[in-house]
């Protein structure tokens, strides 16, 4: 499947792009993260410490072990700081 992967805040800056389209067969967020980290130092710098990263699947917050079945948009970002 092709996933639209989005990055925000310092993850976007470390990746060097706000978005990439990823061809993957990862079954869960954790598997996708492992694949992305293998892409190189920028991805490793962004996704190396997932304790500092939040994930949304199709714009809903999700856990690392959430399945990617039917998902079209995955977003990675730091804890929110609005308000």
């Amino acid at each position: 499947m092709t996933l639209k992967v989005l990055y925000f805040a310092w993850l976007r800056e470390r990746i060097g792009a706000p978005r990439e389209d990823i061809e993957t067969s990862a079954a869960t967020v954790a598997e996708l993260v492992a694949e992305l980290r293998a892409r190189g130092p920028r991805h490793e710098a962004a996704l190396g410490d997932m304790a500092a990263v939040r994930v949304a699947l199709d714009q809903e917050l999700a856990a690392l072990d959430a399945p990617l079945t039917g998902v079209r948009e995955v977003a990675f970002f730091p804890p929110m700081t609005g308000g």
Partner: protein, 149 residues
């Protein structure tokens, strides 16, 4: 309910006046508003703030938080306005307003909206100072604040 995410500045006083007027027509007896302001550092020197957000998810998250507040409290009106983009020290970042028959509901709902908005709506603040830009880190206390609800 009104939820607005916008780059443009908004007139807090005018929003308060319009909200109270709508609330009065809906027979509310209590209006609570909160405004968040870009606060300079304790020693000064903050030059500006940049707010990034996740278009699409932001609106969904705010609508969900607003719906949850309406389920928990008897609210006549709710307003959420949040800016993104470039802001200067002293600028108003965002506001929420709640209207209810009695004050306890209006106070609790406004505090709830703020607690959830802080930690569950996809906004990120970056502070710009003389030595460059720095992403604001989420505070432990903000996550803890959610537990009381």
């Amino acid at each position: 309910m009104v939820v607005r995410v916008q780059q443009a500045a908004f007139d807090y006083g005018q929003e308060c006046a319009a909200f109270a007027s709508t609330a009065a027509q809906a027979h509310a007896g209590a209006v609570v508003t909160f405004a968040g302001i870009v606060r300079d550092w304790p020693g000064g020197g903050l030059q500006g703030m940049e707010i990034e957000h996740y278009p699409g998810m932001t609106e969904r998250a705010l609508a969900a938080i607003e719906a949850e507040a309406r389920q928990r409290w008897a609210l006549q009106e709710v307003l959420i306005v949040h800016r993104h983009g470039q802001l200067a020290p002293g600028d108003i970042i965002m506001m929420v307003a709640t209207a209810s028959a009695h004050r306890a509901d209006a106070f609790d709902a406004a505090a709830f909206l703020m607690d959830y908005l802080k930690s569950r709506a996809p906004f990120w603040k970056k502070e710009i100072g003389p030595e460059g830009a720095q992403w604001v880190e989420a505070r432990e206390t903000d996550e803890e604040a959610l537990r009381r609800w």
